[in-house]
Symmetry: C2
Subunit: 240 residues, 2 copies
Amino acid sequence: MLQLHTVHEVGLFGLLIAKIRMHGELTERDVIAIRDAPYSLVDYQRNHRITNFRKVPRSVHVLTSGLACLSIVASDGRRQITRLLLPGDFCNAFDAQPLASLEGIDILVPSRMAAIPDNAFRQISGSVSMQHALFAMVIDAAASARSVIASLGRGDARGRVAFLLCDLAQRMTARGLLSTPGDPLPLRQDHIADATGLTSVHVNRMLAQLRQEGLVSGGGTIVQIADVTGLRVAAGLQHC
Amino acid sequence: MLQLHTVHEVGLFGLLIAKIRMHGELTERDVIAIRDAPYSLVDYQRNHRITNFRKVPRSVHVLTSGLACLSIVASDGRRQITRLLLPGDFCNAFDAQPLASLEGIDILVPSRMAAIPDNAFRQISGSVSMQHALFAMVIDAAASARSVIASLGRGDARGRVAFLLCDLAQRMTARGLLSTPGDPLPLRQDHIADATGLTSVHVNRMLAQLRQEGLVSGGGTIVQIADVTGLRVAAGLQHC
DNA sequence: CGTGTCGTTGAGGCCTGTCAACCTACGTGG
DNA sequence: CCACGTAGGTTGACAGGCCTCAACGACACG
């Protein structure tokens, strides 16, 4: 039985299925429908920005590998990352529906997406169980965004960085993208800066401080969490 | 015909209906179902904080008058408002589902809520049209939260205040709670502070500056927008 | 008239941004 | 093999924005 589940989750959409399952029970039929969905693959290079998927037919894009984000470019030209997109995440629908004409999708690491035609996905998502799970997923995304608001509004630089790392590690671990929260995170310092609203110079200082406190390890380009509990406390919110 | 709509929308749940309608077409049947929903009314005093609605049966709460917010209290004791709740908004479900055990509901102004029993609302929201509208509503809430993230992450104090005022005025105007965006907003300076992550002292200074620039008017407790366009520019994001 | 709430104003200090320089690692081409 | 360029990280000096603390004013209310 467990074996069966595992088999279902190793395909291209395994991570997507795992993610949706975090928010509601899926039937065997749902899982098969997703697994067998028609799709086309698209690769994107690092630093590419997508403001509009000009794909015919219109498609739901799912990140299958790499790392991307939703971001808003302020009028002074600086970018704010509003949400990190991990493999298994939607990129242009549901919990990651970009804010019209304001939010874009930035590719942070060479990535691949699967584009599922809209009408195909509409059929897949028509079942009651899928509707419930997707609904719960979006509700969770909204709540999660509000916790980021709290971190940005109330936290100092150290707390913001700590929160981001905790949050990302938790999401990645839950989806099996990290075997333990202490594994290296796929972030560069300027990604952290764009996500926390800080400058990369100051992020560097904060990481140095967190390393000295024993909460973070890894040098150079590598960021690893050394002490999850301590980092959560540093984040300043009870929860991460 | 228009007359009919108006009649439907003046009841206790008129604002709720108006809000849901912003995100999808409702059938006559949907509207009637909401209008005739069973409910009980509860009044709350200013500064009351609700961390858990202990209501039997469990209920969906809808704000019918006043002003409330979702908020998170950081470990240093300061409060961050993560979302303002206006009359017509849900308070503990859907687009305002509090983050478990972290987010609470604060009453900012003496308010009244209608509590609709869960199972009654489940029936009401079972129709395809309601499902679609509610789904779109939550997706919009998530996107809206991300624009707040951008404002907090990238904006300076002046921009944050400007953004908050624009955003609130737009939401209130869209729902008929303001006749024009220039009407007085129901916010005290410390509410603005808690929503923007600033101190009330600094909010005061920013409001003084915005008044001097001619973007905001009203003295003392009253905050009015004098120049919507100018304030949007000051907010620093293309959109508000 | 006392009390409490909310807004206003000033002085000073800390946190974070800005600017700039340098360093390492890595790949490329002569 | 070495010169060179690029990307990313590290470090220091300095300035400015925002917080803190504190006092005061305006106003409502019992």
